[in-house]
Amino acid sequence: MVEPLKKISKKDGPYRRRAEVQAFLEKLDLVDARERTDQLVDAGGELRADAPPEALVHLIRRAWREDDAGSVERLFKALFRRVQASLVASIPDSRMADAETIRGEIVSRFMDRFARDCREGGTWLDYFEVQFEGGFAAYRTTVLRRIGPSTNKTAPLMGDGEHSDATELAPEVEKAAAEFFADGPSFFDDPAFRSALGPAINTLPPDQKAVIGLWLQGIPIDAKDPTTNTIARILKCDERTVRNRRDRAFKALREILEEVKAHAAK
């Protein structure tokens, strides 16, 4: 039997693995430990392409509990490679001046948590069995907030003196950019668009990135109802500043959008 997760969500009760991960683990549960490991890890020590990393986390925990040192080592090494791949994809050297240091810090935090889970037999790693990449997004956030922002490699979007929130874009630029985003946040669901725009968003200055990110999640810029969450309220700045940041971000991202839209239209 695949042991259920024990961590309790405030809203939904016990956390549950995604259906495909649960099904994958139940299939592996039918074979012995050696076969389980073989089905997860290839001869080169990599996690197999069709194997979810959440299953890898689960099986390391299980091997540790069952005192299966051989499996722990082999699975851990595959996990280590997988974590490095995930971090290189999300924090490439092109994003940060000291990306390697940041990746190292994230790995270190994750390993500390893993060891704590083994020591206490607790629920420390349950999140990583629910959503592996999501868990690392949380770690990235924590580490980047502490040591990342000062080293962000931002794109040189405009000439000197034009970054100021008070400096408005020319009306025609603003209009053209807004028209380009007329499809609204729903266009962000397009995988081709998303895969191209994600890295581009990461090159924006932090203030513009925050505005465009919230806008893409459907948060309005401003609202008359004082109980509505708006970008201006969340970021504690006025509406005009938000619009300026959004428009600057639009302008910077427009080139990428054009390329992706043109490609999608073919």
Partner: protein, 194 residues
């Protein structure tokens, strides 16, 4: 974690990042529940928004993987050692003081023993036997625990700027001489070594 303890930013972000629905309503719910972590939540929502859609294998040097494994193994080893339950763990502060009196030592020396600041091989067998009896634990359990690495007292508070570190271990006789014991106490304890 006690129910009234504020939840850490890391735990809030982890819970947020594994939510099945990543949308405006989820973000707003977390912003409302954890206003003290609003800025971190916004940043995290952006990280989630820009998650790579595909993870390609990257070349990782075998030496790097091996180093990562050795480091993790050391952490697991430490975890296994820490899993040996402390026979002192259930003592209340007053029971701890009473134990010190019954052993003919002061609190300071008993703390150094509890925190494994004394090499177990240098502690006289008679003293270990008496300690095990007073603790109501098997002698082996006590010696296994004391054979672990020196540790920080879990109840200690540290205000230093640097990360606290466990001190090294000393021999029993040195600990007896440097623990502010009375001359009479020192004589009795050192006599146990013969």
């Amino acid at each position: 974690m006690p129910p009234n303890d504020p939840i850490s930013s890391e735990e809030v972000l982890l819970a947020f990042s594994v939510e099945p629905k990543r949308d405006r309503s989820t973000l707003e719910r977390y912003l409302s529940q954890y206003p003290e972590h609003a800025s971190a939540l916004v940043d995290c929502s952006l990280e989630l928004l820009t998650l790579p859609t595909e993870i390609s294998p990257v070349w990782v040097a075998d030496s790097s993987v091996e180093a990562g494994w050795q480091k993790f193994r050391a952490q697991l080893g430490a975890a296994a050692e820490m899993a040996v339950e402390s026979p002192f763990a259930k003592l209340t502060p007053s029971a701890f003081k009473t134990l010190a009196v019954r052993l003919g030592v002061n609190n300071l020396l008993l703390l150094r023993i509890r925190d494994r600041g004394i090499r177990v091989a240098s502690i006289p067998g008679a003293f270990l036997g008496q300690l095990a009896t007073e603790l109501g634990s098997p002698l082996k359990a006590v010696t296994d625990y004391l054979a672990g690495p020196p540790c920080l007292a879990p109840s200690s508070a540290f205000r230093a700027q640097g990360k606290p570190a466990a001190a090294g271990q000393v021999d029993f006789s040195d600990a007896v001489k440097t623990s502010q014991l009375t001359v009479d106490q020192q004589k009795k304890l050192l006599a146990m070594e013969n």
